[in-house]
């Protein structure tokens, strides 16, 4: 029996290899019929395998010389992925080169416990890299990848990392979108009086539909406090999860949407966000209903604060003042042509 330097491989005569673990895939070629792995890396050699191995011309084998304190990377990565993957996150049964990709098993809002994931990556000989938290993801989308760094990892290092992941469960998850009952109010004298054609309805409906729900009702209102307030109260009395208003959010004397919303019975109203486009954004809540006031920038810019907050409301979250403020880091749209959102830094606050 020969050791190969400091690697965990040994060269072993085939007849002495029973019970040992193969270090690599072993290909069998049957001329004119087939070519493929007869034995996979990690396979434990049995006495029944010996004849076949000899027929394949194998008199000596590279085997992994593992004791109970060591774990092969393919086995280790399965334990890492199992510990990291929460609801909505799945992974292949077949590690590739010691690595497993974690994917979304349904569409929704991808959530990462960034602090816990950072702690996980502090442990020796393990890693997991992820896309950003709060990303709207599609089914089967790649979310993260994990692996043990060496071919063979110490059991105690693996156990430390998986224990943390299990304690912080779920570190990686996808929050499913719940179809919301949404009602829309398009606000502005210019639209109400027919001076210009509204374009907001189409924009809002398209973005809402992309997340799997529909706008139930839309109205066009003038810049009038009583009328706006009255309509919002009417929407609140109906079974409404989310009210969206567009326009009237800036500081012009004609813009009264914000104060009309504030007068309509909302407990919490947050005005302004650390995002451009979308600084003059309003987000408010009653016990059962959320309201979003969209500034007119949404007519010009393809991607705005609306695209960052809508998925979070659809995922059942209630972002507050701190959430709106924390969007500052990554809150500036670079106005790329063409727009590559969500594959860009916009809204990617850790």
């Amino acid at each position: 029996m020969r050791k190969n330097g400091s690697t965990p491989f040994k060269t072993v005569p085939v007849e002495e290899a029973v019970g040992m673990t193969l270090a690599h895939d072993m290909t069998e070629i049957i001329p004119g019929k087939s070519k493929g792995p007869a034995f996979k890396r990690g396979h434990k050699v049995t006495s029944g395998d010996l004849c076949r191995l000899m027929r394949m011309g194998k008199n000596n084998l590279y085997i992994l010389d593992l004791d109970e304190t060591q774990v092969h990377e393919d086995e280790a990565v399965f334990e890492l992925a199992s510990a990291l993957a929460g609801p909505g996150v799945e992974f292949s049964a077949d590690p590739k080169e010691g690595k497993l990709e974690l994917r979304a098993s349904y569409p929704g809002l991808y959530k990462v416990d960034v602090e816990a994931l950072t702690q996980f990556n502090m442990f020796q000989d393990v890693m997991c890299g992820s896309i950003h938290t709060n990303t709207n993801v599609q089914r089967n989308q790649s979310l993260a990848a994990t692996r043990a760094i060496p071919l063979v990892i110490e059991r105690r290092h693996l156990d430390e990392a998986t224990a943390l992941a299990k304690a912080a469960y779920p570190i990686l998850s996808v929050a499913a979108y719940k179809p919301l009952k949404i009602r829309l109010a398009i606000i502005g004298n210019e639209v109400y009086n027919g001076l210009i054609q509204d374009r907001f309805q189409d924009i809002v409906e398209t973005k809402v539909r992309a997340l799997g729900t529909d706008v139930l009702e839309t109205c066009i209102l003038p810049d009038d406090r009583e009328i706006i307030s009255g309509k919002i109260k009417e929407y609140l009395e109906k079974d409404t999860d989310l009210i969206i208003t567009t326009g009237g959010m800036s500081v012009d004397p004609d813009d009264v949407t914000r104060e009309s919303i504030e007068a309509s019975g909302f407990d919490q109203v947050h005005y302004s966000s650390a995002v451009l486009p979308g600084a003059m954004f309003l987000l408010g809540y009653t016990r059962d209903t959320a309201i979003m006031g969209l500034p007119a920038c949404g007519l010009y810019h393809k991607t705005t604060i609306f695209d960052l907050i809508l998925p979070r409301l659809m995922a059942g979250e209630r972002p507050g003042k701190r959430d709106l403020a924390s969007l500052c880091h990554g809150g500036l749209c670079m106005n790329c042509t063409p727009c590559r959102f969500p594959e860009c830094p916009f809204g990617k606050t850790a």
């Binding site: 493929g36 792995p37 992974f91 049964a93 499913a176 995922a315 059942g316």
Partner: protein, 207 residues
């Protein structure tokens, strides 16, 4: 693997009747197994090497299960409700996989092959037995990356629905409104509980 006639007779018995779907299913299964290099899929050790995805719950699905030995309860038979007369055969060991789709043109071909038979059911049944594979099926080599949570073997993943308390296996739980839920609680289901017999109440009755 047994010969075609024996497999067809067995499939008809298992399914309850002989029909064109049995013929299509048996031939599809034989072709699928051959393509992925399995000659005796329903016996050890090959029984552990095969997963079949069927895309319809029609007669042919039973024939596929009969020939290949795949079973829902073994997690070797996967039902994908596409309403398409198709199945994908995956060799877990080699990763080789082929999707086979039953052609619609085979119906017309059956008329050409067996013009002397006027009953369309019998015409298809007899014609599908002898029709060229290329006329009967479209075949495509594919890659199927099977999630770890869909693999055969012991249950590795369990979660508990925070709303109804039921245990959800194999990562089929859903995160919604910051709650881990079973699919019926998250999305609703095909059934509506009858008043007074919800899961929680039933549990109380039996305690």
């Amino acid at each position: 693997m047994e010969d075609f006639e024996t497999l067809l007779a067995g499939a008809a018995e298992a399914h309850g009747h002989l029909c064109p779907g049995q013929v299509v299913g048996v031939r599809m299964a034989m072709l699928g197994c051959e393509l992925i290099g399995l000659d005796n899929p329903s016996a050890m050790p090959q029984i552990k090497k095969l997963i079949v995805y069927v895309e319809m719950d029609r007669c042919a699905a039973d024939a596929l299960a009969h020939v290949t030995g795949v079973r829902l309860g073994r997690r070797s038979l996967k039902f994908i409700d596409n309403g398409i007369m198709a199945a994908t055969f995956v060799n877990l060991e080699t990763g080789k996989a082929f999707r086979i789709v039953s052609t619609e043109t085979a119906r017309d071909k059956a008329k050409e092959l067996m013009p002397e038979i006027t009953d369309s059911h019998r015409q298809q049944l007899e014609a599908y037995k002898v029709m060229d594979m290329a006329d009967l099926f479209d075949v495509e080599e594919v890659r199927v990356d099977i999630p770890a949570s869909d693999m055969p073997g012991p249950t590795r993943f369990k979660a508990v629905c925070t709303r109804c308390g039921i245990v959800v296996r194999d990562k089929k739980e859903v995160l919604m409104n910051n709650e881990i839920l079973c699919r019926p609680c998250a999305h609703g289901s095909y059934f509506q509980p009858v008043k007074g017999s919800t899961h929680a109440e039933k549990r109380q009755h039996t305690l």
